[in-house]
Symmetry: D2
């Protein structure tokens, strides 16, 4: 259901989900803000596939991955009960920030539904910018 | 836009909100889980009207109001852009727990849309049951 | 990942999901309204396992399953990234209404996190009560 | 609580809301996807202030305003219970599309929390691109 490849030097991951009823709106399609939720699922699963325990990073180290920018282009509406593929790539990563790109597709038709990009910085418990702790770096930083 | 009355000895409050687009689903009406969100707005505004600063209670005292039970009966669907009235009553309150009832109405038609009830206990930062700090008691406990 | 059994004559189903970041709140646990969303995932997967295509029922027949009552007891908080099991049972079903019960558990600890119950009626496109179309009945009605 | 001005030829509007508990996440601040929900509230109130009944447009004319692009830069976190100001400007509008920009501020500190931009096209009931009906044009199109 998912794979990990380091094509072009970028960590990539593919995750799947099914559209929930509550994610639709009265237009009969998925409400646009929910694509940002799906993109988050994509990046969480990407870093998990790299051996990175984000939950532990928050709890033990008090370091948080905060969104500083999010962009999404909506190409075709997703519908209730549809199986969705989120392809995520970590296109930039250093001790201060991380950047991801996303492709959201229909699993059946393979039609591209949306494309996105998010930028993030690492924050400490006081929500001030910080550096990713050393023992996590080799997992997400290019050698 | 709101009032405070202690009818029957119960603190009561009325608050208003407008249905958001993202709160609807593809049935064309408000998604049922959102009524619980509205009931929360109702109880927050009720305790605020009593001079109770819930945000400060969390931050300074580390005391949280946790939901242990929620019930809702749905009578008539709320629709996008409709103005909604949430009538909240604090029907029970002691140092360990609080209970609220709610009536959700359409502001225009005054039609009753839903009725609900929630039970809560006070928790400390470790999410263990605790007692409401003394200096907050006179605000929400019957004399 | 899921199974179907007709213990006690009731159709049952078990489905799994992982807690999303956006489902937590500042108490550090899952926001209570999201359990209603999970219960919906449970009943959708239950009826799917019975060979019932709910999406088609809505689109082709114009028949909707509307929540008329929802109850939830919260026993222990669910946390970010935890794997959750939703056990759903269809405890009552006739041509006019359906009733489900739910148990929400932590997949790892098998601890019971919440219990719930929802009641539903079938509605037509005008959101008036209707009867479940004949060709769907044998799937969800006891013989 | 709100005003309408046509500075620089662009319709503008300011609307206020209070951060809901369920809008926070375990980082203790507002979950990032909710800013898109707030931006929607901003544009709905902007077009309402222009005398434009969006709900009626959907119901009577079967014309929908669909998001085709959304961007948000997050500058400073919004917190629970904070009063928020959403300043919306309609920076482009023709018979096929509309574009809005947003500034999200803290009402108390007047600190800028986020900036955003959304692009939209008009769709018909089949979710195909369409033109805004004539009788709505004078409300949102520059003379």
């Amino acid at each position: 259901m998912s794979f990990l490849a380091r094509c072009d030097g970028f960590p990539r991951h593919e995750t799947r989900l099914r559209v929930r009823y509550g994610e639709t709106d009265q237009m009969g399609v998925v409400y646009h803000a929910n694509y940002l939720v799906w993109m988050e699922i994509g990046r969480v699963e990407l870093v998990r596939s790299l051996g990175f325990n984000y939950k532990e990073l928050e709890q033990v180290k008090g370091v948080y991955l905060s969104v500083i920018e999010a962009n999404c282009r909506y190409l075709y509406p997703a519908r209730y009960d549809e199986e969705i593929v989120v392809e995520t790539a970590m296109v930039r990563s250093n001790v201060r920030m991380v950047e991801f790109t996303y492709r959201v597709l229909s699993a059946d038709s393979e039609r591209l539904l949306a494309e996105g990009r998010t930028k993030h910085i690492w924050l400490n418990r006081e929500l001030r910018p910080t550096r990713l702790p050393e023992d996590y770096r080799q997992l997400v930083l290019p050698e």
